[in-house]
Assembly symmetry: C3
């Protein structure tokens, strides 16, 4: 069994963004030399997500508006978490909707994806450098 | 290490449905001959889910009503994604709540499940053939 | 390839709670002797979650209030599932928001975590003993 590990770094300017990280994850898979196995890709921060969906800007706008409706940022006093001095209570909630991680099949050396599947980093508390972990096991 | 891959196809008539796919996934596991490992089962489409919960029709009605309240289908003009000519903006949101994938432990050649755990395909934009991927690695 | 399996048992007094189970999962990893691989940790019950977030009591209060707003427990007659004689329809919905499982990278014999990542058991229908599964594969 082979294993591979890499950290990817992202710095979003502004509070929230969705970034297509599929090319970086594909590069990890090439580097690993693994042909058959499983790939885990997860946010290492608890106010960010990794998820799979469509690379369509209208949809990303819809996600942002929807998450803000389900878990509004302001007023920040509505979250007890923010009594710690943070203002990111909403980001911890948004991340649960969108998820921490994805697990992707690796088949014949490629991400085994449907036609429109792409991997995204979802940032909900930006303006600093944050990490995504890629771990691959297989042969 | 062994690996196994299969695509399962589903065609839902109507927009939304939940289908118990546990028997098909168990058949994949038998075919694979894998006794110890991990099984990934994921929707290959971005308006569908694979999730684990109870096979109870009342609950499925509750999920459908709840998802429709959290992310209503109509009016379709409320989603910027639908400006692309689609009418499935809501389906991309519902799928995030229910999830893309499940990872299941394989122990002694069986899905290592609690008493009531069953695997479901959740369709949110039906009326066409769509795929689920089963990938198993182990020994 | 090595594999390891263990069930962890929890008994929450009251309907809902979040329990930091990171120490128990780390103990499983030590017992397994696995240095490189993937660790799956999932609820074996369908009214409970395993998720990763921050060990901060204010945040846990926020999660509980938010989930109760998205899927209220009462009136129990609002859920068709409760016609079966259950009163836990809301718990099946809350569990979908928070998720069934986490997959964690194992690197150099440790859970490969960001600074604040901790694993939690989320109980939404307590007052009885329930199980979490830990499965680890690797070398």
């Amino acid at each position: 069994m082979k294993s591979y590990r890499k950290e990817l770094w992202f710095h979003v300017t502004g509070r929230r963004a969705f970034i297509n990280i599929t090319p970086q994850v594909e590069e990890c898979l090439r580097e690993s030399g693994i042909r058959e196995g499983l790939l885990l890709c997860n946010a290492m921060h608890i106010t960010a997500s990794v998820f799979i969906n469509d690379d369509e800007s209208g949809l990303h706008h819809d996600y942002d508006a929807w998450l803000e409706r389900l878990a509004p940022h302001a007023p920040i006093s509505q979250y007890r978490h923010n009594r710690t001095g943070e203002d990111n209570g909403d980001a911890h909630l948004k991340r649960q909707i969108m998820g921490r991680e994805v697990v992707v099949a690796v088949t014949e050396g490629r991400l085994d994806f449907g036609t429109w599947e792409r991997i995204f980093y979802g940032e909900f508390d930006g303006n600093r450098r944050k990490r995504v972990l890629v771990k691959i096991i297989g042969e």
